[in-house]
């Protein structure tokens, strides 16, 4: 899922500025709810925090809240059409995708991000997530026994560890596991160390966003649309 973190509330207040009278905070009910950043609970808490702030600073601001299942589908955004139109500013507690999707439907509105979108991650334990994939467009997990050196090695090395890893930790931070140590351990466990001797040529980054922003088309539906 997409893991995000709420922006600091003072940054949100600065971003909102003074030039508005009404605000709609929109939550997103999928990824960022699971990553505890933008679900209904966070939307309601942030609304109360801002109301407290404006009330204590003698400012009259109307704040409304709504959480939809997903901000990355127009159908859900369209459910909010009236609410969006009625408010001066829309603060989206979705990932960056949700923010832009609202913008796409409401070109005349100021839509602001309430979250810092972080990464695609897995839950390690409550309140702790870790990056596992960067969406490079060409999965190599088969070659590395299910551990991605692109997402999990600080240097994205494809041919073995750098010289800086010690005791299973990355040189960048002892709290980061050395991906190559993990790959090596798996190879030993699966008795496939010899697979790691093969030279891996430089990766084709064209299928990542280095080839320009990507669009993915499912041929089946695409053909339908042409007709």
């Amino acid at each position: 899922m997409i893991v995000a973190k709420q922006k600091k509330v003072n940054e949100v207040i600065d971003m909102l500025g003074d030039d508005f009278n009404s605000l709609l905070i929109v939550g997103c009910g999928t990824c960022v709810t699971v990553s505890l950043a933008g679900g209904e609970r966070e939307v309601n808490s942030l609304a109360e925090i801002l109301r407290t702030y404006y009330a204590n600073n003698n400012r009259d601001v109307k704040i409304e809240t709504e959480t939809v299942k997903r901000q990355c589908d127009f159908e859900y955004i369209d459910q909010l059409e009236n609410l969006i139109k009625e408010n001066d500013i829309i603060l989206s507690l979705a990932c960056g995708i949700g923010v832009q999707h609202i913008v796409e439907r409401h070109q005349d509105k100021i839509v602001l991000p309430g979250l810092n979108t972080s990464f695609y991650g897995a839950t390690l334990k409550i309140g702790e997530w870790s990056e596992r994939c960067i969406g490079c467009g060409e999965c190599v997990l088969d070659q590395y026994f299910g551990i991605c050196p692109i997402a999990r090695c600080s240097k994205q090395l494809l041919n073995g560890p750098c010289g800086g890893s010690q005791n299973g930790s990355c040189e960048v931070d002892p709290d980061i596991d050395c991906a190559w140590e993990l790959i090596y351990d798996r190879a030993v466990k699966l008795d496939k160390l010899e697979d790691l001797i093969n030279y891996e040529p430089p990766k084709n980054w064209e299928v990542y966003r280095d080839g320009g922003p990507r669009t993915l088309i499912d041929q089946e539906y695409h053909e339908d649309r042409k007709e």
């Binding site: 003072n10 207040i13 009910g29 709810t33 109360e48 407290t52 702030y53 009330a55 959480t67």
Partner: protein
């Protein structure tokens, strides 16, 4: 329907309908006290479903060699060389539990009885005088076993049959066959049981045992008990008592399963996104997935009503059925009191000075919600005092910590908003600290923050 399923070792339990399974046989687990459902793989690898009212986890700790190249304490005496002295080293790495202390003393006496011509040295860091260890110690001394106390660092292994011992500036070298006491480590299978049953543990190693509400053998989950090595090495000393307590309690409540709370906690299946946050937060393992409704559900009998799940649900999907709405008050001073600590203490004090405070009883400090607190803080000059429990005496095990963390976040947010963060304060109290509470409330009312 069984009365008890033992996971690990069977305990003789007359008049009860029991069954014992190996830890690795458990495949799936659900349900609550009075109706636990276990899917178990038997020795023929066939799956079967079992139902039981109670579960007792009785898994021994694993013994590990303390040091390479030394003999193990539980060796056969015939393996000893009768021509050499004996050096028993207790507590080399860690301070041993009393049960190991006892074994070592017994062994030392046994060895001395057999090799009476030879010296038996007993090096230890700490002697645990519980059970009959003191009389064993006395007996061993009378038999001529030489006891030497050491601190880590004062003992050095020179060879595999030689140690250097230093105390009060005096150094001596001892030579002989070295026996070390074993280390007790949690059985690796215990980790999986903790995970499957979703019960609170100490760092996923042993089943929580420091919390006063979980004594002597209770776990955070109603109807599940833990004994012996599952509770940790120190539990062996209390084993007989804990076993008896457990069986008696089960017998006296064999068909008596009443909810512990007045109102049910319900999950709105339209809002629930199955993120498992409530499952992870619940200190009582009362939450599980309801596969029929595609939502989480809270087992009514397992729920202790701490409301931690409600305050933590990121989708705001959990609520109390038929909750009586708190009437809104305009009071600027509000106190939230945990019903298991501060509120109990409050019952014992004269409330005359506190009539003007808006005091609300809460089930647990972990039930506080940011949203509600900021709603209250909207009123200028309003102040909030949250009174929770001390660590290890929180009925909901992790509740005080969670409550404290939520409060810290709120204070942090207030700082970022340039508002006075001391408007919200978290304090810990025990139910017996009524005098402290009295003084504390007076001070807080006057506007002094600690």
């Amino acid at each position: 329907m069984l009365d008890i399923i033992y996971i690990g070792d069977q305990i003789k339990s007359p008049k009860l309908n029991t069954l014992c399974i190996k830890p690795e046989a458990l495949i799936e687990f659900e349900g609550e006290i009075g109706n636990f459902k276990l899917q178990v793989k038997d020795d023929d690898k066939k799956l079967k479903d079992l139902k039981t009212k109670y579960i007792v986890i009785n898994i021994d700790a694993v013994r590990e060699n303390n040091l390479e190249d030394t003999l193990n304490l539980d060796l056969d005496l015939d393996q000893l060389d009768p021509n050499q002295d004996i050096i028993i080293i207790q507590d080399y790495e860690q301070i041993s539990p009393a049960v190991i202390n006892k074994e070592a003393l017994n062994k030392a006496i046994e060895i001395k009885n057999k090799l009476s011509e030879k010296e038996v040295y007993f090096l230890y860091r700490s002697m645990r005088f519980i059970d009959d260890n003191d009389s064993l110690f006395e007996e061993a001394r009378q038999k001529g076993i030489i006891f030497l106390q050491y601190e880590m660092g004062n003992l050095e292994f020179i060879d595999k049959d030689k140690v250097k011992y230093e105390r009060d500036g005096l150094t001596s070298e001892l030579q002989g066959q070295i026996l070390t006491t074993p280390l007790l480590k949690p059985d690796q299978r215990l980790k999986r049981i903790i995970r499957l049953l979703n019960i609170e543990s100490n760092g996923n190693e042993y089943i929580q045992s420091t919390n006063i509400y979980l004594q002597p053998s209770l776990t955070g989950k109603r109807g599940v008990y833990s004994l012996a090595g599952a509770r940790g090495p120190n539990a062996y000393s209390e084993y007989e008592f804990e076993k008896e307590f457990t069986l008696n309690e089960i017998k006296s409540n064999l068909d008596n399963f009443e909810p512990l709370t007045e109102n049910k906690r319900v999950v709105d299946d339209k809002k629930c996104i199955l993120c498992y946050t409530c499952y992870r937060v619940c200190p009582h393992g009362a939450v599980q997935e309801d596969k029929e409704n595609d939502a989480m559900k809270i087992n009514e009998l397992a729920c202790y009503g701490c409301d931690g799940c409600i305050s933590h649900c990121p989708a705001s999907a959990i609520s109390i059925q038929e909750k009586t709405e708190q009437k809104a008050s305009n009071n600027l001073l509000k106190v939230l009191m945990c019903e298991n600590s501060a509120d109990t203490a409050y019952k014992k004090i004269d409330k005359g000075s506190f009539k003007d405070l808006d005091i609300e009883k809460i089930p647990c400090a972990s039930s506080i919600k940011k949203e509600d607190i900021f709603k209250f803080l909207r009123k200028k000059d309003s102040r909030l005092l949250i009174l929770g429990c001390f660590e290890d005496s929180c009925k909901h095990i992790t509740g005080d910590g969670r409550g404290n963390r939520i409060t810290n976040e709120i204070r942090d947010t207030l700082k970022k908003l340039d508002l006075n963060h001391n408007r919200v304060i978290f304090e810990r109290l025990s139910p017996r600290m009524e005098e402290d509470l009295n003084g504390f409330l007076l001070k807080w009312k006057e506007g002094e923050s600690s």
